[in-house]
Symmetry: C2
Subunit: 325 residues, 2 copies
């Protein structure tokens, strides 16, 4: 056992006992990536697999942070010890995540809850590993549920949201927000829709757009198979309107997943996605190594000279990886 | 030579001669991906490497399509035979790209210019290959410049924009748009900034924010190395204000790249990125094959049973790939 493994194990045991500072340090290590992050992910994986994971996603400005804050308050009041992970684009200015509403969110949380931001920019591959590891860590430490808040714009963010047990997609009235969500691939991963800022003009249009899209079958394969139809909830998170309905919908969906056995399918899919991401990251770094080697420089020169195409260079590099001892 | 290779070669030769319908068919094949796309990319690569590639990116609603249309008109009027590739999120409703302003854009184009949309959703890996292949095809056929318009939200889109010779980042006043662009990683790839809708309140603030970020050095490594500082242009694309200034800035930047020899560095980086993307896609499919095999099912079961961790499963799978004959 190495000393870095010892340190991670000590922090992990301390976090399991309820040491919040240890949990914070473990999350920082997960965010940073590398060997330490992997040790922590391995430890957490062994004792995880129980918590319900809720993904909340929507465009910037859709009020999903405020809704998350409302849910945090409702869960906390009901005595739940929950964790919130806000996945934010990071700022090169600060080197960390821009917190936005996070400060107010702390006021809403119960003593027992844990709130954390995670940066995404510059290492989308890292995010794909860090988020599942953080979920498993929260799970291992005993947080239930775990809420993941993401900005639903990039493919990675959609993947992260889609990896949740229950995915809540937040849209706002006007500007074809439902159409935008559709474009971003969010409709297909949604288990619950929230039309936020429902006092604004166009709220009923947004609802109708979503109903139509559901009618047309542009939703997760789940509905086709099982008859589960994502509810559409009108909300105004600023006033707290609709948040209790969202909470009920999350609980109903969790119950539906458990009763139907679908929860096992979702969790298996999540693990398969994680394994696949880890495989691609491992091999991607092998490819980078080769590209930066003398061999790689030769391929690049030949591509620049139009002697071979990028596809041919890629095949040769993959060939040299596959035959590597 | 296979028949699919024959067909691609025939289409390619016809496109080189100026057959627009053949060019359209080639672009469709590139978008679809697979073997045919690769043959076309190989053919195009052999005779490409000359055209100047301009990336135009910004958040949805920043007016970048309108600006692109204005530039299209100015280039066309100056006698340039240019191509515009609009990279749009696709809609599951239509199965294709939502065209938005594209119809009006056709009105702006000269007889000689070529406008095309490309869908992104559902295959970000595919986009990473299709866009460079389309650029090389336009290049081979003799379009100059090639303008790539992307929505600057996801990492893939930033990568695509950043792979251009000259990258134009469009922001709008208000709502901390410059800060959002910063978050998305757009500032670092920008060669030219456009503050669009400059008649709106907050336009001068947006300009000041950008100047500040430039002062703080949050820009491409290029500035640090060479003293090139991205200009900030106030524009109102709806009225056409500022478009000629943007055109001049693009030409100045192209000249700067040529005179400094930096153009070769950019193009080499673009090719290396393309090779890397192709390697990762090739190996990713090998990983998928293994995950779907009996061997993979065994690993997944062990991960589900908490006997091994996802990281351990990934390492074993990579091991079996690396030792594969």
């Amino acid at each position: 056992m190495t000393s870095s493994s010892d340190a991670a194990t000590a922090l992990f045991e301390s976090a399991i006992k309820g040491e919040r500072r240890s949990l914070g340090k473990l999350l920082t290590a997960i965010e940073r990536g590398g060997r330490q992050a992997e040790i922590i992910a391995d430890l957490a994986h062994q004792v995880s697999g129980n918590t319900h994971v809720v993904g909340i996603t929507g465009a910037p400005g859709s009020g999903k942070s405020t809704l998350t804050g409302r849910l945090l308050k409702l869960f906390s009041e009901a005595g739940d010890k929950l964790a919130v992970l806000a996945v934010d684009p990071s700022s090169p200015l600060t080197g960390g995540a821009i917190l936005g509403d996070r400060i107010r969110m702390d006021d809403l949380a119960g003593e027992e809850s844990f709130i954390r931001s995670m940066a995404t920019r510059g290492h989308s591959g890292g995010l794909a590993l860090a988020v599942p590891a953080a979920i498993q860590l929260f799970d291992a430490v005993g947080y239930e549920p775990v809420i993941i808040e993401t900005v639903g714009v990039g493919q990675v963010e959609v993947d992260v949201a889609g990896a949740a047990d229950t995915t809540v997609v937040v849209v706002t009235p006007g500007m074809g927000d439902a159409v935008q969500a559709n474009k971003a691939g969010l409709l297909e991963v949604a288990d619950i829709f929230v039309v936020n800022k429902s006092d604004r003009p166009g709220a009923s249009d947004a609802r109708r757009d979503l109903e139509l899209m559901l009618d047309l079958g542009h939703v997760s394969g789940l509905e086709q198979m099982t008859g589960y139809r994502p509810p559409i909830i009108m909300a105004n998170s600023l006033d707290g309107i609709g948040a209790d309905e969202v909470l009920d919908a999350i609980k109903s969906h969790a119950e539906y997943l458990r009763n139907s056995g679908k929860i096992h399918i979702r969790r298996k899919e999540r693990l398969v996605m994680e394994i696949q991401n880890r495989v691609e990251l491992l091999i991607g770094s092998t490819a980078s190594d080769i590209l930066e080697s003398e061999l790689g420089a030769g391929y690049i020169a030949n591509v620049l000279n139009r002697k071979i195409s990028p596809a041919e260079a890629a095949k040769s590099i993959v060939g040299s990886i596959l035959t590597k001892k």
